[in-house]
Amino acid sequence: MQNKWWKPWLLLSPSLTAVFLLLVIPVCFVVVYSFWLRAPTGADIPAFQFGNYAKFFVDLFYPTVLIRTIRVALETVALCLVLGYIPAYFFYRTRSRVRPFLLLLIMLPFWISFIIRTLSWINILGDTGLINHFLIKSGLIAEPLSMLYNEGAVLLGLIQYLLPFMILNVYVSLEAIDKSLAEAARSLGCTEWQAFKEITLPLSLPGVSAGCLLVFVLTSGSYLPPMILGGPGNDMIANLVFKRIIGTLDWPFGSAISVILLSLLIIIIYTYNRYLGINQLFKSFQ
C-alpha cells in the first residue's frame, strides 16, 4: 500500500479549495455582514451591532414568518410520512415484476424540473383548473372555488417535491430488514399486523427519522412553493431573504435573516446527529 500521508490531501485539494472558497468563506461573510449597518443612502457600513437581529425580533411580523416556516415544515413532514410510508412498505413487500419500474417511476420527479412541478399545481387548483372544471361541469358549484395562493396549495407543492425523499429513505431502511424476522414472528403466532407493529415498524425507524429530518430541512429552506403557490400571507423565511436582498437590497438585514435560518437548521441537524447519527441520511442517495 502506498501510505504517503500527503496523497489523500493532494486528491482532496481541488474540492476542499472549492468548498472553502465558495461556501465556507462566503457563509462567514454572511455572518459578518449580519452585524453591519445600513445607511439611509443604502450603503453598507462595517459595524458590530445587533440591530439587524433586534429588528427581526422587535416586531411581530418577522417572528410570525419564522414560526410559520417551522409549522409548515412540521406539517409537510407529517403529511409526507403518512403519504410515504405505505408506498415504501408496498415496495418492500411486493413480489410484482414491475417493482423496479415502480421504483424508477418514484425517482422520476427528481429529474423533472422543480419549477415545472411546482407551477403544474396551478393547472389543477386554479380557477380554470382541473378540479374547478369538473366541479362546475358536474353542477356542484356555480363559481370556481379559490384553491390557490393559500397554505394548502403551498403544502401540496412541498409534498409533491419532498415525498420521493421520504419514500426512498423509508424504503432503504425497510429493504435492509431481514424478511425472515417477520416470518418467524408469524410462525410463532403473531398476526400480520402484530408482526409489522413489533418487528418491521421499529426496525424501519432509522429510515423514518432520516426522511423526516431531510424533509424538514428542505422545507424550511424552500423558496419556490410559497412564492408560486402561496399568497402574500404565506411567505416563509427564504422568501424574506430573497425580498430583502434582491428586492430592497438590504444586505445586512438579509444576511441576518439568513443567519437565523441557518442557525435553526444547524440546531436541528446537530441535535439529530447527537442522538441518531447523520449517516443514515446519505444512504438513500446511493
Binding site: I86, I116, G221, A238, F285
Partner: protein
Amino acid sequence: MKLISGWSLIRLYTILVYVFMFAPIAAVIILSFNPQQFGSFPMEGFSLKWYVKLAQNHTILAAFKNSLILGACTAVLVTLVGIPAAMAFVRYDFYGKNTLNTLLLAPIMIPEVVLGVALLLFIRWLQQPKSFLLLLIGHVVITLPYVLLVVQARLVTIKREYEEAALVLGANPLQTFREITLPLLMPAIFAGMLFAFTISFDDVTATLFWATARNQTVPVKIFGMLRNSISPEINALGAVMIFLTISILLMAGFLSRRFTRGRNN
C-alpha cells in the same frame, strides 16, 4: 381473506399516491396542446401552436442554450473535482476524514437561498460583476455532494485487489488509475455527470440570485414568465423540459447498459 383485503388497500393507497405525484405533471403535458389562449381546462382541440410559438421565441432559445452550456460545463468540472475527492475518502485513511466528508456533503443540507446570498455577497465584496463564471462555480458547489455520493458508492464496490495486482505487476499509480480504476468507475462517473447536469439544468432558487438578464437559464426564464400568469406557452415549455429530461434518462440507461455489458457489476 382479511390479509388479502389489507394488502389490496395498501396497493390502492400506493396507486393513489402515484396519481397524486403524476397528475399535475400529466396536466402540464396535456394542456400544452390546448389551442386556447389561457392555459386551462376545458381542452378545445389539439394543436401544436404553442410549440411553434416557443420555437420562434428568441429569448427562450437563448436561455436553452445558456442552460445546456452551463449544465455541460458544470458536469465536466464537478467530475474533475469530485473523483479525486472520492478516491481520497474511499482509498485512504487520514485525520479528520469524517468531518471533511460531512463538510463536502453539507451543501445538500444548506438552503439554496443561503448559498445564493453567500456567494453573491462574496462576489460583491470582491467587486466582481455577476457573470457566467459565477453561475458555473455556484453550480459546482451545489452538485459536488451528489457526484461525491454516487462515485464513492461505486468506488467502495471496486475491489482494492485489482489495483494492487496492477501495482505488483509494475504499473505506476497513474497507470493503475487509468487502466484499472477509471474503466471500472466509468458508470458512476457517467451517472454523476448526468446527475450534475440535471441539477444544474433545473436549479432555480440559487440561480435566481446569480443570473443576470444576459445569462438567464430556462427555469429562471420560466420564473420570469410566471409573474404575469400561467400561459399555454409555459406549459409547452414545461412539456419540452419533461420530454428532454426523460429522453436523457432513457438514453443514459441505454448507454450504461452498453457500458457495463459483459462486465459483472
